[in-house]
Point group: C2
Chain length 329, copies 2
């Protein structure tokens, strides 16, 4: 198996991308193709690191975080993220991992690999560790202005993903709104609700922001604007909570004693609040596997994203999703 890692993507590229890829290659026994500017990548390939399974695919261009995704992808034909998806298309790689501009990653995936049959708007899913198990939030940033039919398709995609890769059977789907009553929500939510109610999917009605953590439903659907705000908010709150807890404990003698004894539990607790653990967010609805990582991903996060990509390849995600989408599309 070969995973193409966009070495030029992310705030700390190519450093973190290269380190994470090398770690993944060593730990997971998988081949990695680092796509990007070869001189910059080679500088990061420390001679002490084991790099047998890592090769470089050189390309000059890359897409910046502040580039307009669609324009940049169309114009920069030799951008690392486009080239990475080309490797999947030609069969050299099995999946793409990138911490770069997520809009550009999606646009490249769509442009190079195409959309799955019946899918108008591929979406980005994020997997939260809910108290009763995983919760899939979709879309977390690919589509900011949506129609009801798009929000319905997100549910179909997430259903296919959750049953294929997360081992869920008939996952409950909720529509993110501002009250559980059907009358509540904005125009988009009220119209989308009807589509779900008429479908054979296991739709349980509206849910609220808090349900991302409870796990009362397994899939939560929203437009990409709301989803991205929710994702960034929970990341920010996780970080703030961790800082605040440490400050609070350090401010008293008893607290410092508690910190001493509780270090392990507290570390395990803060790790749960950390977006790096799950690794990345899968692109759903394109004809191939793509994982979007946080722009500030550490090497750890990149390694976890590669692990996720390997899992998806092994569980034949794309074939299973195609079949599911045919059934519910």
């Amino acid at each position: 198996m070969n995973i193409a890692v966009d070495a030029m993507g992310g705030d700390y590229a190519p450093h973190m991308a290269v380190r994470g890829a090398v770690q993944a290659a060593a730990e997971l026994g998988v081949d990695i193709t680092l796509v990007g500017e070869s001189v910059a990548i080679e500088k990061e390939l420390h001679p002490r690191l084991s790099t047998d399974r890592v090769t470089i695919h050189h390309c000059e261009e890359s897409i910046r975080m502040d580039d307009s995704p669609l324009q940049a992808v169309r114009k920069k034909k030799r951008a690392s993220i486009r080239v990475a998806f080309n490797l999947v298309k030609e069969g050299t790689a099995d999946a793409v991992v990138s911490a770069g501009n997520s809009g550009a990653t999606l646009a490249s995936g769509v442009l190079v690999l195409g959309r799955m049959q019946g899918v108008d708007r591929p979406a980005i899913a994020s997997v939260f560790p809910g108290e009763k198990g995983y919760v899939v939030l979709i879309d977390v940033g690919a589509n900011v202005d949506c129609r009801p039919s798009h929000l319905f398709q997100f549910g179909v995609l997430a259903h296919a993903f959750a049953t294929s890769c997360l081992g869920m059977e008939n996952p409950a789907i909720g529509l993110l709104s501002i009250g559980e009553e059907g009358s509540k929500g904005n125009e988009l939510v009220r119209q989308t609700r009807q589509l779900y109610e008429e479908s054979p999917l296991n739709f349980t009605g509206n849910v609220e922001g808090r349900d991302i953590f409870t796990g009362n439903v397994q899939i939560i659907v929203c437009d990409g604007f709301v989803g991205n705000v929710a994702l960034k908010l929970s990341e920010g709150m996780g970080e703030a909570v961790t800082r605040s807890l440490k400050t609070e404990l350090k401010s008293s003698l008893f607290g410092r004693v508690a910190l001493l004894f509780g270090r392990r539990s507290l570390d395990s607790f803060t790790r749960k609040l950390n977006y790096e653990e799950y690794g990345g967010a899968p692109l759903l609805g394109i004809n191939g596997i793509g994982i979007v990582c946080h722009g500030q991903s550490s090497s750890n996060a990149i390694r976890n994203a590669v692990r996720l990509a390997v899992d998806f390849v092994n569980s034949r995600l794309i074939e299973k999703m195609r079949e599911q989408c045919r059934q519910h599309g």
Copy 2:
């Protein structure tokens, strides 16, 4: 000073509303009028509680959480929340506190007291304890489908509130979006941004969900759908974090020792995550003071909301806001 408390509002009405009001009367030395069904209220007025400053204003009707706000307020002329605002209108009370249906509270306030000059859409603000000080999020649920001009007015209202009541000078305003770059966001955000850029307000550009906790800006503007999702999400995450921290610590011996020593610090930490501390969310843009409390408010939360109302009356919020809205409107 007299604060009208809607005794019939909230999931635990009238129990929590009555208890909180009695606490507030005793601790703050303020008169309270409990508005609602007198028999039900009297049952809660335990003889041991000091109730010198508490009077009951009887009315038969009340609005339920699942009522359609506008219809219910128009139809139920003798609903407790409408009657409470009437007391303000006739000069008997100085402010209203309710844990009931927030849409109905807003609609009653608008119907009975009217909108401030130049304000099309009054909004609900929520005050978050950011790491660098308070952050005002507006709107958190009053207006789910907004135009750019509404989002601009929310900023004017929050600016007036923050300078009048939170002691802020020229607070920085950010527009909640999914990336800091001006090109990012949905159609509504892009159009609203222009209005802010042409205004004399201290607009600093787009912010992300994480900024609700950092305090990099003092005011964050969004539509009521996004704001309510954000509010519920942060409440839910706060609760989940608290539960998870305790479970984690209790699961090991060292953790239990840490819990023993760190109890005080941990309590102080979890209190910060608790929506009850600030007390409630002010309605901004109507000709009077109204505080919306969480539907699941405890008596503590109600007491804190009354304290907030007293602060607002003392700082002449309405007069100051009128003046500010004239300047920026």
